[in-house]
């Protein structure tokens, strides 16, 4: 089984490494989401993000109708240090794996040209419900 050694991803953090200088999506504790360019990270998942959009989701219960009112607050930050312990999940290259599956490739061996070609599309953040 040589395929595992050839693959660019041997451990989960390699997935983050592949996203350096790419825009990524990060889900944090207490209903916070970040989208930004990954400048640096470490093994704790402390991260330096640039050109960040933070989305905070709050749910309030209406006193009379008991309806849930979901509010989102957005702000942008030029640079952000994120402490790793707040991270739940990081998402990268939503586009790639779909395309690569179509092509029947090993999903982690991302052709450089494809990656470059799609970078601009990805720069505008996660594309939800793509499939």
């Amino acid at each position: 089984m040589a395929s595992e050694e050839e693959s660019a991803v041997k451990e989960p953090l390699d997935l983050i490494r592949l996203s350096l200088d790419e825009r990524i999506y990060v889900k944090l504790r207490s209903d916070r989401e970040l989208r930004g360019k990954l400048h640096a990270y470490d093994q704790h998942l402390n991260m330096i993000l640039g050109d960040v959009e933070e989305i905070v989701t709050t749910v309030e219960i209406d006193d009379e109708t008991y309806e849930e009112i979901v509010r989102t607050t957005r702000r942008t930050v030029p640079f952000l240090f994120v402490r790793g312990d707040g991270v739940i999940l990081a998402m990268i290259g939503m586009f790639f794996s779909v395309r690569l599956e179509d092509a029947g490739c090993m999903s982690h061996v991302i052709p450089k040209a494809l990656k470059d070609g799609l970078r601009d599309a990805l720069a505008y953040g996660p594309i939800k419900n793509l499939v």
Partner: protein, 91 residues
């Protein structure tokens, strides 16, 4: 295509062996928050950090998002379970 998903199923002895044996298989990862992630387990490490492909996020049993590759920080993981469902499979 060397994928035989069933290999090594009967010989797992320790939790670590189990985790090694389920790479490449469809799994459900439940987080402490109760959110489920279903997808193909790409790899994991000693912290139980997880890399997943074709990830689907379920909150309260409802599909909320689909992601390509996802990294899940290990400290949030409640359990990892193999699922019979084969993702993206026509039949």
């Amino acid at each position: 295509m060397s994928g035989t998903g069933e290999k090594g199923s009967a010989t797992t002895k320790t939790p670590a062996d189990f985790l090694k044996s389920i790479r490449g298989r469809p799994v459900v990862v439940k987080l402490n928050s109760g959110v489920d992630y279903r997808g193909i387990l790409a790899c994991l490490d000693g912290y139980m950090n997880i890399a997943m492909e074709q990830t689907e996020e379920y909150v309260n049993g409802q599909l909320k998002n689909k992601y390509g590759d996802a990294f899940i920080r290990g400290n949030n993981v409640l359990y990892i379970s193999t699922s019979k469902r084969t993702l993206g499979d026509g039949a």
